[in-house]
Symmetry: C2
Subunit: 178 residues, 2 copies
């Protein structure tokens, strides 16, 4: 996996050379550390609902734009269509989504939510809201708004708003047929 696997390297000993900024004061390190923590917690909290974050992401996207094809869904989420097959399989197995053949293009499957999914999705939203509260518990409304705004700007600057996860971008462009 990709992350700063070390932590709290602001120990008491001295560094002789460049004497760099302690990691705990590095925004980049804090972001990596917090990002991993938050993603882990999200998966822990969703587990009782039988979901992982990718499932939640798919369900959210389908609920926003019902009837997307698997390919469209994969593109919009920045995952490869091959991986989407497995996610849809799992969701369909739990009767949370249905595959429907497109009548005009019989290659394509259009994905629709079941009523069961709508109920579950509300629960999942509540769970993620809870995580939000958990993470920003120590902040007042003003601080929290400021932090979210700053993070939003950083994400925008890093081109993360366009919707394609940078860690996947190179793979998405892959064309399987030579």
């Amino acid at each position: 996996m990709i992350w700063f696997s070390y932590n709290h390297l602001m120990g008491t000993q001295q560094r002789e050379h460049g004497d760099p900024t302690p990691l705990a004061e590095r925004g980049a390190f804090l972001l990596s550390q917090l990002g991993y923590h938050v993603a882990s917690r999200a998966n822990e909290l969703l587990a009782p609902l039988g979901l992982r974050t990718p499932h939640y992401g798919v369900l959210m996207q389908v609920s926003r734009e019902e009837g997307l094809t698997q390919q469209q869904l994969a593109d919009s989420l920045g995952v490869h269509r091959n991986a989407m097959v497995g996610l849809i399989d799992e969701l369909e197995g739990r009767e949370l989504v249905r595959r429907e053949r497109d009548t005009r293009d019989r290659r394509a499957h259009r994905i629709r939510l079941t009523d069961r999914a709508r109920v579950l999705l509300d629960e999942a939203d509540a769970v993620i809201d809870g995580l939000e509260r958990e993470v920003f518990d120590g902040f007042n409304r003003d601080e929290r708004a400021r932090l979210v705004a700053l993070l939003g700007r950083a994400a925008e600057r890093a081109d993360l708003r366009a919707g394609i996860h940078p860690g996947l971008r190179r793979h998405r462009s892959t064309r399987t047929t030579a």
Copy 2:
């Protein structure tokens, strides 16, 4: 891997039910997204030096406290001692660290940096400084300080300062002998 694999789910379509906060306005989502981005970039930037972030973490820790045993190193970084073996193997293979038998406890290996490592570590520090600038490019000094302070508080509240990565904690407690 663990992360929010979906993105920019603040599309234009409507949600019928709870109508939850768009992900792009969720601090938790932004943290996860940025954290993954930053960790990916760190690995990309370190790659030309032949390092990945775990190697960098080990080198930093050893430079702060030279002569730690592999077990101590593993504990301080929140990774399992089994994983530490491979990291040290790789670093030793590139002549960046040396294993030295502890004279009193001949089971233990104390890890020391080579001169080559000290040079490389300075370069790595510069690279990570560059990442810091890259990520916070759009912020003035004041905003950046505020953001880092807020992130630091969030990390502290989440018990991330204690040094053990939450994603690894459950594994660290494992005792291999029944």
